[in-house]
Symmetry: C2
Subunit: 344 residues, 2 copies
DNA sequence: CTGTTAGCGCGTTCAT
DNA sequence: ATGAACGCGCTAACAG
């Protein structure tokens, strides 16, 4: 019954009202048409509607020993865990496609060391997890180990897996390749001295982008240098401060690459404030290519991500696992594509 | 048991391992220290850890007849329901604070006419709802009626309520006042001909912003005109196309106001493309003041929203309702504040 | 096609 | 301080 003391109809109530047994109602609810005649079904359905009956998910799930929810856990030391458009779109894709299969998505943002205190982990209430990791590699490894001990299906987003584990599946995009695309583009323009700006909080995707960039540059331009600086946050002022500090103490680079478009844009505005022209004096490249990247002028050269598709792929994988017992594939890598702008 | 056939420990297993009755384990789990000796407790806790025991939420919730999750439902006809930074931050605030009270948040984005098909509505599986509405006023009213029939606590976000209902509580910010702040600011600068650009999809917050603006302008500048145009989507190109179409057929307005900063920015860039200078020829004002609004230059004058706080307030309200049986207040209005930029 | 029986895992109640 | 019986609402398995 509800808080206000209003009785809530159960299967029994519906059964009594329709003059059938509870089992028949259950069969109607579950669409077991083989077990119930058309006339009875109609009668039951009318009573369901009339009594405003809604099935108690807890009771059903207990009986059939399964959960009908997937836990989406985002590791972020900032409380604004959905501020990142990438993450938000992953969640949207995941949710939309799980909902189609009558699964719900339970979302939670937690600090990197708080997994054990998560309600979803302390209690058994989701069928599996989708996890967006952050933090230093070693910490991430610890989290993966903790997740492994849960003996539940886990989708790791944007994070490679070190050891195979039948409970785990990785869904990510090819950030490394994205880095190489940027490197090749810049190398073709004679860029030799590269400045890369990344946020202080470690994200696996950022690591891969930088790794791809660094590797490719080393391969194609042997004499080139890549300097990586960190910004305290992804906020406009922090990024500009980090860039300013670096530029004050070092010669001007040929190009600045942001771990994402916001970082690149903030850096570019700082260049403008210094009277440095883009792309003539310094080239600028971002990453992600979301709508907002167009707000900076000149339009920033970038690599386009498809986070909604990542969420959709994650939904597909975990559904497969929950229904067939095994993951279709253990590592799914989605492509990215290069989008030239006016800053290179 | 899990899919792989691994047995999962229950309270019974823990009890047997610790040499006590299931009831004692339950008392330990629920912190009923009065009922269990210190030594026994330690022993039970060790076994809980050793066996990796996790409590079956379904069974507990069924027994105590309650749900420990809140449904966050976002009405959006686009599948990218978290693309809006405002919404995303509401969700973050809501989730963080509900999690502190051991409630989870189940999220879902649905089209305006799909509420009845939502898993959360068909089944009884959340303790209450937080709802972000969109669509025409009449459709929203229908949705509110459907929600009312659920007999569950509902927090309406950014939406005023027509009839009092003890199941409902409204949490919103003062968008209307935000509109008047903009109007006064522009009136003081002699603005007479105003162009307002809004997205085609109706959001109550936008309606209130425009209403506040229109009302205030009518009050302070009797001769002034306010024209509202709609953009097919909030995408950059659509907004620019809408503005272009209007400008081609009408004299230049004194100011353009966007329903949010993105719309304002897109409009402003279009002005730049036409060689119209801001703020000299046309003034530009946005709404929200999120980080991204700084990427447009000149920096856009705006009204700052605090969506995370809205989520937090919603969490507080629904928790109060779930624990005490009544809402503390039925209508919570958070303030906004004006932030002058370089575009006025 | 329909009804009966039994039990999912947990917590309340009452016994010891 | 600890244990036994019972039932929350639902559905699998079987009987009719």
């Amino acid at each position: 019954m509800s808080i206000k003391g209003q009785p809530r109809a159960t299967i029994k109530d519906v059964a009594r009202a329709a003059g059938v047994s509870p089992m028949t109602v259950s069969n109607v609810l579950n669409g077991h048409r083989q077990f119930v005649g058309a006339a009875t079904r109609k009668r039951v359905e009318r009573e369901i509607a009339r009594l405003n009956y809604r099935r108690q998910a807890n009771a059903r799930n207990l009986r059939v020993s399964q959960q009908r929810s997937v836990g989406m856990v985002i590791f972020d030391d900032s409380p604004f865990f959905l501020a990142d458009f990438f993450t938000a779109q992953v969640v949207a894709g995941l949710t939309n496609f799980l909902n189609l299969a009558d699964y719900t998505v339970t979302i939670q943002g937690i600090r990197h060391d708080q997994l054990r205190h998560s309600v979803l982990v302390r209690n058994l209430e989701v069928a599996g997890f989708c996890v967006m990791l952050s933090g230093p590699k070693q910490k991430r490894r610890q989290v993966v180990d903790e997740l492994a001990r849960l003996n539940q299906p886990v989708i790791l987003l944007q994070e490679a897996l070190e050891r195979k584990n039948p409970d785990f599946c990785v869904v990510r995009q090819d950030d490394f390749a994205g880095g190489t695309l940027i490197a090749d583009h810049l190398a073709a323009r004679g860029v030799h001295r590269l400045l890369v700006i990344v946020p202080k909080q470690d994200w696996p995707a950022v690591e891969n982008r930088v790794a791809g960039l660094t590797d490719a540059i080393a391969g194609t331009s042997p004499g080139a240098s890549v300097t990586v600086i960190k910004s305290k946050t992804e906020g406009f002022d922090d990024v500009q401060a980090a860039v300013a500090t670096h530029l004050d103490a070092n010669p001007l680079p040929d190009a600045i690459v942001g771990a994402n478009d916001s970082l690149a844009a903030a850096a570019m505005f700082h260049l403008a404030d210094r009277g440095i022209s883009v792309p003539e004096d310094v080239k600028v490249v971002g990453f992600n290519g979301f709508e907002a990247h167009r707000f900076a002028r000149p339009t920033i050269t970038t690599v386009v991500s498809a986070p909604y598709k990542i969420g959709k792929a994650a939904a597909r994988q975990i559904l497969g696992r929950l229904e067939t017992g095994g993951f279709e594939k253990s590592d799914i890598v989605l492509p990215v594509h290069f989008k030239p702008g006016a800053t290179t």
